[in-house]
């Protein structure tokens, strides 16, 4: 049921980067004494957007930071707290951290969460200050990191843990189970920090995860056995569980991913872990100054003003650890020293708040060196460096090697690449218009060229043929700019299905095919509601309850298939279920009762269409028994307004398939050109049933006035386009012209025109942009000749005709 949002990640990255830039520039210009409310609101909105988006995209580490930031900003925004310099600083830091996380995600790496935790802690400090409370330790940070680690799954993410209790680390295995593991994990998360190492979803054969908690082993066992079957559960206590004495290292060691490989060698393991942790952006060491003692904040501010600082952070964040190693020039060294010094202070400040005296730094590094095999890789490059920085830089350079070996591709991509640009829709539309113009010009040239001797002007003919090809290609490319994959709509349905299935106690799995089918963006937005409705209907009324399914000999789990594909010039979206199918008798009897149909001998396909009749579907009896519920008429209306058609196939006991047939884009319409006098009109192909040359014997008059035409046992009213448009037609005689049979909202009419010119795809242009709405016309287009042709609105034509008929009969009565 999981689906891939990652294809939209790029969009998220760009948007978030924009939000961050906005936030930063606003914050930098903020007058602390009298902040501008609009600016504050804008900053808040930016943070809020990032929070929302990152949550959606599953980057919970970013959500966590922005959540705290938002809380703080909200206080200021509401005037409940005064804006202080510290707040501005911490906001900027948070922005930097977010930028780091963002870039790490963008590179496809696991971000280092240290700086975000630090900044969350700092945000909490500011929050507490703002509320006038005393400074509290970073309690919220720990549960936030819990969440983050779970989401990161199986990655060695360092986590904060409370220093007071003795934390044990357990490794828990249990086999794949049908039981509700989600609930289990929720409960485990309450106990402590959960880190999934292997799960069936990842292809493993069993659940395997580590848990850091202060609870006793027996408690965990009890919990597990309560929630899942006790067979095969194993809980081991980790030997290298931290004992609180390692300070810096403990966090890292407790949650690392490959502990299970070598649980006994806590020490070396730790080091590996550190390396692998650093292998994330590797900036864990550097970014720590984001959580300084408040004492340092003044200095801190200087630092954020320092352009060199921003530079270093950027490099590290972007995962180009290699670059970092390279950049260990002497000049940058001093910056690094400074940063590192603070980094460690920041780290230590958490528990002791001690000032930087080098202690916090040297201790862990020495230990690292003692145990660090990886230090043999130390490059000589940094040996001349100051003692303080050398170990750290070697660490990063060696990790750079590791990461480079791991992923050579990333070596190339040192800087995050811009893979797309954001352009306003206006500009795209302008481009499309201009290309449309080009196509028309090209068509005109071709037309002119056809009048000259092709043998004498062979070269010109060749040139024009090439021009035609090129313009078509150009048009296709330009049109594709507006195209988006339909997965934008599809992606929300797994959730809809899951939630609704749970609510209805049904077992349903959703399959999606052809998510990459592209269609016009504006159409995608309008497709969401009808599709949601259809899927809900399938779930609610189509798929039977598990019991029923079992009795019917079907798989207990129902399937809803969502499929999108190109068929000709159309997009076809199908919603198919293997449920009970529609019940013909029920629908028919209901329809007869409502007076919609009179005969019960109509074909199935027409019976199914009845469920789209307005008011029909609201009947509870029908929805209970056979399916399809409230608002199918709305679905139909929406689809029709998109120029689409709905088709239903259903078989009792087997299932139902509803197909939506849509034009590729809203900007293009498949139309039939009909002639009336000198003018050409476009009739949308979707509303045409057929056309015919009428025989006089088929045409009857009613009371000598209104004419009808008999087609397949049906009398259709005849509408003369010339009357409707108030234009003279070429023919007055029905026999000489053509009847085009149109249908809209289940009503059929025959439109009398002079001639059929041909079928073509036309680009829809707005008449209303410079003019106003014209009755019976939905828009205009430009023909190959450069002339404007009006596009007929069939539904409106039919209602216009009705009104005229009414007026006419009233006139007759008077």
């Amino acid at each position: 049921m999981s689906f891939d949002l990652s294809q939209f990640n790029q969009l998220f990255f760009e948007e978030s980067a924009e939000h961050l830039a906005t936030m930063e520039s606003l914050m930098l210009n903020m007058d602390v004494q009298s902040p501008d409310m609009d600016d504050l609101n804008a900053v808040f909105r930016a943070a809020h957007s990032i929070k929302g988006n990152s949550g959606t995209f599953g980057f919970h580490d970013m959500t966590d930071v922005t959540h705290e930031l938002e809380t703080l900003l909200d206080l200021v925004r509401k005037g409940e707290a005064e804006l202080t310099d510290e707040m501005v600083d911490v906001t900027l830091q948070a922005g930097d951290v977010l930028k780091g996380l963002l870039e790490a995600h963008q590179e496809g790496l696991e971000p280092d969460l240290e700086p975000s935790k630090a900044v969350i802690a700092e945000l909490n400090v500011q929050l507490a200050k703002a509320k006038g409370e005393t400074v509290v330790p970073s309690e919220p940070a720990s549960d936030i990191s819990d969440r983050a680690t779970v989401d990161q799954e199986s990655v060695g993410v360092p986590a904060e843990s409370s220093q007071t209790d003795i934390i044990r680390s357990y490794l828990i295995h249990f086999p794949v189970t049908d039981d509700d593991t989600e609930m289990l994990f929720d409960s485990l998360k309450e106990l402590g920090e959960l880190n999934i190492i292997d799960s069936p979803e990842n292809g493993g054969e069993e659940w395997f995860f580590s848990l850091n908690t202060d609870s006793a082993k027996s408690d965990i066992k009890e919990l597990l056995e309560f929630l899942i079957s006790p067979d095969g559960i194993s809980i081991e206590e980790e030997l290298n569980a931290d004992d609180g004495s390692f300070g810096f290292f403990e966090d890292v060691s407790t949650t690392t991913d490959d502990q299970e490989e070598d649980p006994g060698y806590g020490f070396f393991d730790d080091l590996d872990k550190i390396s692998s942790e650093a292998e994330d952006p590797g900036y864990g060491f550097f970014d720590e100054p984001e959580a300084p003692d408040s004492k340092e904040s003044a200095e801190e501010k200087d630092e954020s003003d320092d352009p060199g600082y921003g530079f270093f952070e950027d490099i590290e964040v972007s995962d180009s650890t290699e670059q970092l190693a390279e950049s260990n020039s002497d000049t940058s060294g001093s910056d690094n020293d400074d940063v590192i010094g603070k980094a460690l202070t920041g780290k230590n400040s958490e528990d002791t708040g001690q000032e930087f005296d080098g202690y916090g730094f040297f201790e862990p590094v020495d230990e690292k060196q003692a145990g660090g095999e990886s230090f043999e890789k130390t490059t000589s490059k940094s040996t001349a460096r100051a003692e303080v920085t050398a170990p750290v830089t070697t660490t990063t350079s060696s990790t750079a090697k590791q990461s480079a070996a791991k992923n050579t591709a990333q070596k190339v991509a040192k800087q995050p690449q811009e893979t797309s640009i954001r352009v306003s829709v206006e500009k795209v539309d302008q481009l499309i218009n201009q290309v449309g113009e080009l196509v028309i010009t090209q068509a005109m040239l071709t037309q002119m060229a056809s009048e000259v001797d092709p043998i004498l002007h062979e070269k010109m003919a060749n040139g024009l043929a090439q021009l035609e090809r090129n313009t078509r290609d150009l048009q296709d490319s330009v049109m594709s700019i507006r195209m988006m994959p339909i997965s934008l709509v599809f992606s929300r349905f797994p959730r809809v299905v899951r939630d609704l299935a749970g609510k209805l106690n049904k077992k349903v799995k959703l399959e999606m095919v052809g998510e990459n089918t592209e269609l016009d963006r504006s159409m995608i937005e309008k497709l969401t509601d009808p599709l949601t409705h259809l899927i809900r209907n399938s779930l609610d009324h189509g798929i039977e309850s598990p019991d029923k399914r079992a009795t019917a000999g079907k798989d207990v789990t129902g399937t809803i298939l969502l499929r999108a594909s190109h068929q000709g010039g159309n997009i076809v979206v199908e919603v198919q279920d293997d449920g009970g199918g529609l019940n013909r008798e029920r629908i028919l009897s209901k329809a007869i009762e409502k007076g919609i149909v009179t005969s019960d001998s109509i074909p199935d396909s027409e019976v199914w269409q009845l469920i789209f009749a307005p008011g029909f579907s609201t009947a509870a009896e029908v929805t209970d028994v056979s399916g399809r519920g409230v608002g199918m008429d709305v679905v139909k209306k929406n689809i029709t307004s998109l120029g689409g058609r709905l088709e239903i196939e259903s078989m009792e006991g087997i299932g139902t398939r509803i197909s939506i047939r849509l034009p590729l884009t809203l900007a293009i319409l498949d139309g039939l050109q009909v002639a009336l006098g000198d003018e050409i009109y476009i009739v949308p192909l979707t509303s045409i049933i057929g056309s015919m040359q009428p025989e006089l014997s088929d045409i009857k008059t009613v009371s000598g006035e209104g004419a009808v035409i008999a087609i397949r046992d049906e009398y259709l009213p005849i509408i003369r386009l010339s009357d409707l448009m108030n234009m003279p037609g070429e023919f007055d005689d029905f026999e000489q012209g053509i009847m085009v049979i149109l249908e809209s909202d289940g009503q059929r009419v025959a439109l009398f025109v002079d001639d059929l010119v041909g079928q073509s795809q036309v680009v829809i242009k707005s008449l209303e942009a410079n003019y106003r709405k014209v009755d019976g016309v939905s828009g205009a287009t430009i023909l190959g000749t450069g002339r404007v042709a009006l596009i007929l609105d069939v539904a409106e034509i039919i209602s216009m005709h009705k009104q005229r008929a009414k007026k006419h009969s009233q006139g007759m009565l008077v």
Binding site: E437, N726, L767, N770, R772, V774, G776, I782, R787, V788
Partner: protein, 169 residues
């Protein structure tokens, strides 16, 4: 009415000072419009008729991909003869929210008129309300009628704008 015009002239004094106008003729009358509202001048042709539109709305044309309505001011103001040939001229106006083409008998000149050259129009009965006349001016012993083309074209009697949209504007 005159007062209003006078007011607007005072406030728009700077605007009227030495402003350029495009003059055109309709029958024997000479009109002028703010040249900044003029997008281009082109020949008349390939007009698609629109159903149930007033007679002075000739239809719409394709102006480089934009659908532009064409109004024959000769029919609207009942001056000159409405015939169409290769010399028939369309002035394409770029108004604040729309592009409109007007058919005129001929485009004469571009003149620069200072605020003091423009006299308030007297109240008179004409085919259109003096509301749409900014003033009168004399150039080369000819009277120029300076038209507030923006106001005229968005007026209800031009039937160019939907009523609902007019209220919104």
């Amino acid at each position: 009415m005159t007062e209003q015009v006078a007011d607007s002239q005072d406030s728009d004094f700077g605007r009227l000072l030495g402003q350029e106008y495009l003059t055109f003729s309709l029958g024997e009358e000479h009109y002028a419009v703010d040249i900044l509202k003029v997008q281009e001048i082109r020949g008349y042709g390939a007009v698609t008729k629109i159903a149930n539109a007033p007679a002075f709305i000739k239809g719409v044309i394709n102006l480089r991909g934009v659908i532009v309505p064409i109004i024959d001011l000769r029919i609207k103001f009942n001056v000159g003869e409405a015939h169409y040939d290769e010399f028939t001229i369309v002035i394409v106006l770029h108004l604040s929210n729309r592009v409109v083409g007007i058919v005129v008998d001929g485009v004469s000149d571009v003149v620069s008129l200072g605020g003091d050259q423009i006299k308030n129009p007297p109240d008179f009965s004409a085919n259109f309300d003096s509301e749409y006349i900014l003033g009168l001016a004399t150039v080369d012993e000819q009277m120029l009628i300076i038209v507030d083309i923006e106001k005229l074209m968005s007026s209800e009697e031009m039937a160019l704008v939907d009523k609902s949209r007019m209220q919104a504007v």
